[in-house]
Amino acid sequence: MKDRIATVKENVQVADGIWSMTLAFDDFEKVEGAQFLDIKLPDKSKILRRPFCICDFDEKKKTALVCYAVVGGGTEVLSGVKAGEKLNVLLPLGNGYRPVGKRIMLIGGGMGVAVLPAVVTANPDKEFFSYIGFANAGKVVLEKELASKCAGVTVATDDGSYGKKGFVTTVAREAFDAVRPDEIFVCGPEVMYKAVRKTFEGVDVPIYVSLEQRMGCGIGACLVCNCKVKRADGEGYVRVCKDGPVFLLNEVVL
């Protein structure tokens, strides 16, 4: 973990409201899947850094990919950054996803899909089966990137305008018996975790999720990005940035 100066190599729109930014660093350290980075915006009125998952990375080239949706003032500023500009970036942050089993089912919903490529890149000895869902065809991202490194990729859209019609959680559940994964890793909005909990009820493999929350420091000091977990010692708040962002789904209080 270090505050580094990154050079923006590319920052382009890749789908409806979704941008992809490649950052190059002078030095790079090992990244775990689902770890995140924290970008200082080139606008002094916006003082808080913006956390994004590390979408993918290349240890040799010392680059990290950030895939983001423009949803507010901060991401709007970020989308205006040009290739060649420099940004202060803290990385890698948080506890990533460390798969134990061999066959892993990945489920991503919307921008949550952006976590998945790095999970695959960080674990070249595992076999991944990806199920990615979007609202419609215009929002589909990262299908090709995942297809090139996974044993299989299935796309679903809520309106059926691309791939299978329906919620990706349902599509993944239907495939579960055939895939027989050792573990499941899910990333998406909270409503999706509720759906996974319901659809995968009784499934006897560990299910991990990556949470997000508005953050302050990004390193565990300020206690603003809390989420509630239930463990043997009771229910209480933990820090998404430092204790997470990856948690066992059955520990998270949704």
């Binding site: 505050d3 003082i47 808080l48 508005r214 302050g216 000091a221 300020c222 206690l223 603003v224």
Partner: protein
């Protein structure tokens, strides 16, 4: 002759830069970025007698040039601090200020007594947390209660006591005088300004707690004025805070009457902010031959 050392209530700081309570945890996380012994001091996260869960998320919202928080004093409790953090911090060559909060006078007394057993060099009384219904804010509003809580703690506390003042009051100078009358060894100001961030789409406040405390560069002018007002009201030393992000901000606060300063929100903007400010101050006094103590209250009014 160039000098960065300052003294407050008999405690010597190697430089006037202290990290503000609630922005720095117990020094562990930022210790991964730089040696915290480079700082003048650190203020711990606000401690209460028992563990406190704090408010539900979201607890943070950005505002123009600033931010609002509504953490609500989440902390592991004083016993956990004494067992886990106190000894580790004692090994660091840095002044440790234990920030304490309570909801009754007895709470404040009880926690101040427990702090007597710690290695902390000083105690900062949080009587101005805007995020907890009974997080001390009730004590921070009226001069009479500021004096009362300060005196209650002074009666039992063996360490120098700093009363941290709220800006959300009618006359902060009155509260500064009240803290002094209650026996405070120093005062620190300002705590966060009460505020709200609203989402026009949902028509709801962004913070789950609805209200929060505003901090960051945007509050600096308010803080400078209040430090100056208090400097003219009391004789005890003042620790100034509110929007400090650079060494020149530190100089401005000292000129307005602060003997030392606290750096808070800047830590989020840049994890090495407090360390960078110390380095820049060192370079400044080296080059200018300035003793920072000579700056204190040197403001020339127009």
């Amino acid at each position: 002759m160039s000098n960065l050392k300052v003294k407050i209530a008999g405690v010597e700081f190697k430089n006037p830069v202290i990290t503000a309570s609630g922005t720095f945890g117990f020094g562990k996380e930022y210790g991964e970025f730089y040696p915290i012994s480079a700082l003048g001091g650190i203020c711990t996260k606000g401690l209460t007698l028992n563990k406190k869960e704090g408010n539900p998320p979201p607890r943070i919202a950005e505002s123009y040039g600033g931010m609002l928080n509504s953490v609500g004093l989440q902390n592991p409790g004083i016993e956990h601090y004494l067992a886990e953090d106190d000894k580790r911090l004692a090994k660091e060559d840095v002044v440790v200020i234990a920030n304490i909060a309570g909801s009754t006078l007895d709470d404040y007394k009880a926690i101040a007594e427990r702090i007597n057993d710690s290695h902390a060099d000083m105690v900062e009384l949080n009587i101005s947390c805007p995020n907890v219904k009974q997080g001390g804010m009730a004590f921070g509003v009226l001069p009479k209660s500021v004096e009362q809580v300060t005196r209650a703690v002074k009666d039992v506390c063996e360490k120098p006591v700093i009363t941290k003042l709220s800006p959300n009051v009618s006359c902060i100078a009155d509260n500064a005088r009240a803290a002094e009358a209650g026996g405070a060894d120093a005062i620190s100001l300002i705590n966060t300004l009460s505020g709200m961030a609203v989402n026009y789409r949902t028509r709801r406040p962004i913070l789950a707690n609805n209200n929060g405390g505003m901090s960051g560069p945007c509050v600096k002018p308010v803080a400078l004025k209040m430090v100056w007002d208090c400097y003219n009201a009391v004789k005890i030393p003042i620790i100034g805070l509110g929007g400090i992000t650079t060494y020149t901000d530190v100089l401005e606060f000292m000129i307005c009457g602060a003997r030392a300063v606290q750096v808070g929100t800047a830590n989020f903007i840049n994890p090495t902010a407090a360390y960078d400010i110390v380095k820049d101050l060192e370079a400044y006094v080296e080059e200018s031959g300035q003793d920072v103590n000579d700056l204190v209250g040197s403001l020339i009014l127009n």
